[in-house]
Point group: C2
Chain length 387, copies 2
């Protein structure tokens, strides 16, 4: 199958591109390299050194014998997006190409506006390109479990059966997310569902949990194939950050009470989920939503898993929650769709974290401790900055 | 009360500005004049001649003795938005300043992207300006009943009590609208609700029905105070279009079966609803939603009302529906909030239309018949145009 991976130079996009290539698909990668530019802006860097996309693709060819086509450009440039899709003629498009950090979107007005326009316009351009060039292309779009927020009812996979005043309907699951980034994905989902209705697009919206881990079967083949590992408070995800703090001998910093519960996922399951979604496409006109997460834990539970799996003393520290979020809440979510397609989850276990610690230890000198401190505050961000 | 009307040069913004001024409020109008620019782009024009904003404001001062401050600029320019809000120091901001035509947003990719970025970025800038300058400002935001689409359950005012698997929550009412324009308002609503949660903004989101009529007590005082009356298939709203077709001796063009039901509202109720919302502000942190519509009718029922009230033969013609929408559906919506604040609705009656016919007849020579034909088609628009 011909699969074009948008954002294929990123933390998950790159391992996904290799995984699909290793599974016999013809893969293209489209990326603007803007994720690398955020690093320059923030003064941050991947803990594990990563190669340029050009080197990655060359190394992949040496190691696997497989080619990956590269399209360098920005999806908000419609001409570029159309040209790339026309040239590669994919059967599936996997869309990772969005600004994906909640704290980045909350820095100030400019970052909020940037995140929403970048994500919404990029996705609209992809929708229109599919609609005009080939409506049979299956779009596999990365959303987030964070779109749902923390409702007091169980979270279903994108749709909800509702009865009200004696009548019933199947409605889009109501969303109430916690950042302008998460909101941008809610907006995308609404736009995409409309595209399915009016143009018969076939879309799979993957509401992904927080991903942990840094190695897949493919990234481990050669150091040049490594994917990024972010530890900074803006782009670093919580489990990865805890693992790094453990290795550095720092207390694991839990925001607030730590009773906030989040859905999580092993990076090795991410790549498998994408493969399953591509190989089992949505129907023409179907807006299909999968919850791409396998387990949920409170932040405190996550910290304890990391602490218990680390060979040495680990302190857990509660710090002021920089976010505005409900800390004590119900959390139960359905995640049967991907498992029914064949996903066999890697569950969060000591084993995994044991495997991460040496990777982190090897690069510990690259850590800038200042970057671990959360400086973006949901309530105050707008007061501390000018327009 | 100091009230700044964003989009105060438009069809409803201008009558609202005068109405609030007539009711003792200090009013400012902010507008970019982009609505007048759409006319140049489409070759369309208001059926009733309208004056420049400068002349309108001068005429209003002559007629009423009241001043209206003018801020000319675009809300997507954050510096301008902040400066205007800082200078006027409003207690309420009424936000009409969005691209508001569903067909305009469906012309092609560029118009879809323009509509969503214009509306979302403008609203984000207003939210941030309020958040940074004065969080006590009450934002009265114009949304649309079209945000809801046509669910098979009753439509409530913005929120819905849901019970699922034995648990309950009050959730944002699920939305499933029918154009990229309507979607932009759904996106705004989600962003605004988040602003209420994190910054304690006070927001009233008015989900307005389709407005009919062209005269208010104030516009009728002087021809220079007239507001626009659109009859073209892009910006003209359905009841106004039917009235114009009746006067011109043309068949009333009903899209499809005409069983599609829509919520409607008299223009005189629009201005009163805005006054009631401003004078009864939302609480700090409250995202309050009112359904600003008083009745609902199927398109065919609307055509019959117009036909019956016109003194002469009127034909009703069904034409191919250019939109993608469900024609046969449940429709019942709650609209008690504004009535409980004191709204006394003008109901759709022969009387109103009798009063519109002479206005239309007076300007019938200005009609360009070509503009009445719907040329924007939901399913095909993207095929007939290039990127």
């Amino acid at each position: 199958m011909r699969i074009l991976v948008l954002g294929g130079d990123g933390y998950l996009g790159w391992p996904t591109a290799m995984y699909l290539s290793a599974h016999g698909h013809e893969v293209g990668v489209l990326d603007s390299a803007v994720r690398r530019q955020y690093d320059h802006e923030l003064g941050s860097e991947s803990l594990v050194p990563i190669e340029s996309l050009r080197t990655r693709v060359q190394a992949w060819q040496e190691v696997s014998g497989e080619q990956i086509a590269v399209f360098h450009g920005d999806l908000t440039d419609a001409d570029f997006a159309y040209d790339a899709i026309r040239a590669f003629a994919p059967e599936s498009i996997v869309h990772f190409a969005e600004q994906r950090a909640a704290p980045y979107s909350m820095i100030d007005r400019k970052h909020a506006v940037y995140t929403q326009t970048n994500n919404i316009v990029g996705t609209l351009n992809v929708m229109y390109a599919i609609g005009e060039l080939d409506r049979d292309i299956h779009l596999v779009k990365l959303g987030t479990m964070g779109e749902y927020g923390t409702p007091n009812i169980d979270i279903e996979e994108g749709w909800l059966e509702v009865t009200h005043n004696g009548r019933s309907d199947r409605v889009l699951y109501p969303k109430r997310p916690g950042s302008f980034y998460h909101l941008s994905k809610v907006h995308d989902s609404h736009n995409l569902e409309f595209g399915c209705r009016i143009w018969g697009l076939r879309v799979t919206d993957l509401n992904q949990g927080i991903v942990y881990g840094q190695q897949t079967e493919q990234t481990a083949l050669d150091p040049r194939l490594a994917t990024r590992l972010d530890y900074d408070a803006v782009f670093g995800t919580v489990l990865n950050r805890f693992a790094i703090q453990a290795v550095l001998g720092l207390p694991l910093s839990v925001y607030g009470a730590g009773t906030q519960t989040r859905a999580v996922l092993d990076i090795r399951d991410t790549v498998e989920c994408i493969r399953l979604a591509c190989e089992n496409p949505a129907e023409q006109g179907e807006f299909r939503v999968f919850n791409q997460a396998t387990e949920s834990f409170s932040l405190l539970e996550m910290a304890k898993v990391v602490a218990n799996s680390f060979d040495g003393p680990v302190e857990i520290q509660h710090i002021d929650n920089p976010r505005v979020e409900i800390e004590d809440h119900h959390y139960r979510f359905t995640h049967t769709a991907l498992e029914s397609l064949g996903l066999e989850p890697h569950l969060l276990s000591e084993t995994l974290f044991r495997s991460m610690f040496p990777i982190i230890a090897q690069h510990r000198d690259r850590v800038d401790l200042d970057l671990l401190e959360p400086t973006v505050r949901w309530r105050e961000s707008l007061r501390s900055r000018t327009s």
